[in-house]
Symmetry: D2
Subunit: 361 residues, 4 copies
């Protein structure tokens, strides 16, 4: 019953096999190997256009390098105020952009709205020399609240960003979960909707350590090869990144993995919603569930060995914040979370709900 994060899992057997299979013989280093070439070709297929893709081993490196490619030193990157890039990367985007400013935009359910974007932009007017100038908008898909932007929402935000002179980055650490859930193609929710650069995550969904910075317009990749090297993110035996990504994409494996995680999250969400005293501040759209539960249920779950993070958020919108006797939880289903774990968790929660019926609020 470990729902603490999708990075507590190992790798999918198919990805692991791809690594092992790539081991024989000599191969050119630094990403000039055939596996990396294959991975790039497959990414181009996935996105239905020729892309420039750069593999790295970490999500933070991926995001920070991508943002630095879009945001000149000393400019501002707008993002949701609880986005991973602003809250959870220990200042990596600020470091890689040479002192850029991450500007948090508030929004319910972890999502930036065009209105909130517009308000934020109004605070950083063009040409006022006292103020950093905005250069990029970063959207997380899946968001930090486990919600999804629709194609229309991405389109609207991209249009607003481009109109204001900002490039659009998408943090797709859980991009596979988003594609699996939305029923839209990878192209539709990225470049066709105005996204310029994507952090395409594989690690959380089954790789050991592999992410791709994807430029939809290869001409805009510029000096990215140098940028990656200078950040220490060019892996020497690049074949092992290439093999991971190719194995991850092969035969739609990436979407199978994400679909499984989403299904378990849906099961978990449905089971919890049915219990008295449990409420969900927003729908479960991908592989993360954020229930607000009676404190006693939280204690029973912990006592039963369930692992997850208690949660606090500024994204509740019009939802009531957890009260005295409540706790908000973050529950993540990984590609390898099994139904049995979900059901065991629900059983404990149900028992706690019947023993300690929720107080009438």
């Amino acid at each position: 019953m470990n729902f603490s994060s999708d990075n507590v899992s190992g790798a999918s057997p198919q990805v692991l096999r791809a690594i092992v299979d790539s081991n024989a013989g000599a191969a050119a280093p630094y990403g000039m190997d055939p596996w990396t070439e294959d991975a790039t070709r497959r990414l181009s297929e996935v996105f239905e256009r020729e892309v420039s893709a750069f593999l790295v081993a970490t999500g933070t490196g991926c995001n920070a390098l991508a943002l630095a490619a879009l945001a000149p030193p000393g400019t501002a990157i707008l993002c949701h105020e609880e986005a991973h890039v602003i809250e959870d990367e220990c200042g990596a985007p600020e470091f890689f952009t040479g002192g850029g400013k991450l500007v948090g935009v508030p929004g319910a359910g972890g999502k930036v709205t065009p209105e909130a974007l517009s308000s934020a932009l109004a605070r950083y007017p063009r040409g006022i020399v006292r103020q950093v100038q905005p250069s990029a908008l970063s959207l997380s898909q899946v968001t930090e609240a486990g919600t999804l932007y629709t194609v229309a929402e991405i389109r609207a935000l991209s249009d607003a960003a481009h109109a204001a002179g900002l490039a659009v980055h998408m943090d797709g650490a859980r991009f596979a979960n988003a594609v699996a859930a939305l029923g839209a193609s990878p192209a539709e929710i990225t470049w066709r909707a105005g996204v310029d650069v994507l952090s395409f995550g594989a690690t959380k969904n089954g790789a050991i350590a592999c992410e791709a910075v994807v430029f939809f317009d290869p001409a805009k990749a510029g000096d990215f090869l140098f940028r990656r090297k200078r950040g220490g993110h060019t892996v020497s035996k690049g074949r092992f990144l290439g093999a991971q990504m190719a194995g991850f994409l092969d035969g739609g494996h990436w979407l199978d993995l994400a679909r499984g995680a989403n299904l378990r999250a849906a099961r978990l969400s449905a089971g919890l919603s049915a219990l008295p005293g449990v409420r969900l501040p927003w729908p479960t759209e991908a592989n993360e569930v954020f229930p607000i539960v009676p404190a006693a249920m939280h204690e029973a779950l912990r006592a039963a060995g369930a692992r997850y993070y208690p949660w606090t958020t500024r994204s509740l919108g019009e939802n009531a914040a957890p009260g005295e006797g409540e706790r908000m939880l973050r529950l993540i289903c990984a590609f390898d979370t099994d139904e049995a774990a979900v059901d065991a968790f629900l059983a404990v929660a149900a028992r706690a709900a019947s023993v300690h019926p929720a107080a009438p609020f």
Copy 2:
């Protein structure tokens, strides 16, 4: 016959097996897993003292982070003028140190001497506000010329550096080759000889992507955990780094691998030295050979499919530079280079030597 670099090889089967074996079950992320703990314990054993070790996936990341931990923003790091950190890392140390200056010190055979260090220091006197202040000395062991510092040499350089207020870093991308060759213990050629921080390389000698920043005084590691995260170098599923390093160290595997590479290099070196027209500007001490050969031999080798880099260097010291009809080569033996490849290479070289006897210089 691929002698181009030790990073064209894959991983050793033992390291690969360790990765596969670590895959089952949930594990804490970001290096808080049991494999990473095991790896650190083993490193402490190897160095005969408790060390603070931080695993990362790249050598450039490892060096740049280590140097940034030693060199405050805006200070100078002294190193050999052909060191990897100054020549081959695309400015990563400058980036991670917030604009530090890498100062190259000349020296024959890729080695810094106390005299050359002293001259360089004299150009950056303490307290002169116009000038960057030196903060660290970085030594490569094995050097870029494939040579080795003796314990006494490291001691002398460390003493001089410490006396001048500099910390001492060792770039040990090929540290295993050095230990295997020197007949000195890992402790003797590092902290007992004054080294403060070591970049301990595993990738070149058999890992897929794993290096460790090793602080011999854990108290000096300071905020390194944050520094690593901010550089995007904290691998999410840290178990896979831990497993690599543990598998690499297990049962002295790392030294077995390095010993093999060194032996093949020695065989290659001896074979080449015996040929007319071939000269070695410095002895072959680890797994790299730098012969100066007749141009015709170079062409014959290339025609036979041998892979290696032609070389230019400022480290020839009193050796004559390659003449019109000569070429300098860099030949690297990896952990998995086999004797057959060495012998095939030597056979081609010998044939070329007999067909085109070297002109009497």
Copy 3:
């Protein structure tokens, strides 16, 4: 009737004379001259202890260098969400700190409260590697809202900051106005109340371009001389900074200048408050007045040639925001603003008030 800023004024005659008087003869460069020595001695007298003071030509340079001395690369600096350092310096603090994060703390009347500080700190817990670690608190005295921290307030905030491991910086661009207004000594509102480093401003109160970074504990100045040089902020003919600062401080001139500015602001504030339809969201405590006035009054003032900035703020606290028919203004009195200008302004305002009586809200 120019109330747009205190930097639209020239220099006070006494400061200008000091510059002219320092011109004769040769003097050591880079701040090693007798005028700079004299200025430092005077600052030590002003603060009743030996201080380390470093003169620079700009307020942004002064703040950014001071903050960089307190905040190691990649850490967080907390300040009011409308502080000059976070809103008006175009990212200079982020640049000089190597990518530090400025974290805005909300608060009515431009002031940080211990409660708001505590909430902000709770979002950046110690030891969580995903998050930047707080290293400094920056307080503006006078604040951006023209209000003042009392000695007790500074003490409480400093204590909270120190308890959390943060150093305390004070942005004293208008420090003279604060001292003149508070009836407390410079020592009492700085180091005796826990401030570690002060940006001591002279420019806004009568110098041509001179500020001092003042370390109350000289031992903590560390490598500041190098930091200043590396930022390009070491003025070559340092005598001209020294002479300005010495002339500014001589005979209490700095406080006389500030007292005058404060008096005129008080007169302006009192005059405006007496008019129907005008309200002040917070008291006028130094040399800045922020009235909310009927739109028609604003138009009449503009038509009469008055110069000032319309204002928007997030610091209104429980005050009603300006309504449809209202405008918020920022009016600044400089050291050389004369009573006639104030009275002329008030006369126009009064006329507008009587013509267009305020609607009953």
Copy 4:
């Protein structure tokens, strides 16, 4: 007899008067005042084309900002190995370029030659990801050795730089001395010869603290206004920079001042050359003299109270380095150095020469 530097002087009376004259009344801040406008107009006249000029208070700030505008983060700037930007600015260019690398090019008499430039470029080939990519060439005019590039030399270097994709910066801290000496127009030795950006110095030649970053193609200035602000180099009461520069340029004053300094240096040089035992490693072309003198002469001069810096250099070329009984000196004549001081210095030197005739080397 103070020949230690041109920054030990005060300001010229004309510049000082311009400052005093600009003091009255209100003026827009941050360089939006009429004096700054006037200064820019005058600079455009001086250079016979419309330029974009940005005033700052320090030479190091001027150079570092100019280089950062030309050199993207992580690229290399080539310059003479003893240039001010690489040796004497405490790493400011590295800081402002976000970790750029300053690459020193050797050359006799302080000058870069096309051959040396070409060799240096060969070490940083385009497209090799391990290596920083060159982005700019910085030439000092006057050089650190007091020598001058001819128009043809600048043309040749600029052409080579542009052909290799580098922009060309000129460090003109003593630009006035160069123009006064060369008999070429400011345009001829800058943009007409291929210079893209000039650091135009006024401080050393008579201002109190004023330099200009001059973009000859205003379109290339880009976001320089923001860059200057972010570096803390936007002076608040900008009128005082504008007045200095306008006063400096007015009526050819800047060239009159420089001409005087050059004349005194020529007198000093001629006088010294005539003495037995004195030799000049290169001709005196502007306002700096670098004699190699008998040690006894150096002692006599010091005993007589003469002030200057002993010198060491790597720019001697084919000249013999100072021997055991010799000292190399750097003697600088400022705009206000008077003939009497020169003659007094020469008298002491002559006396020392006659008492201690130079040994026959």
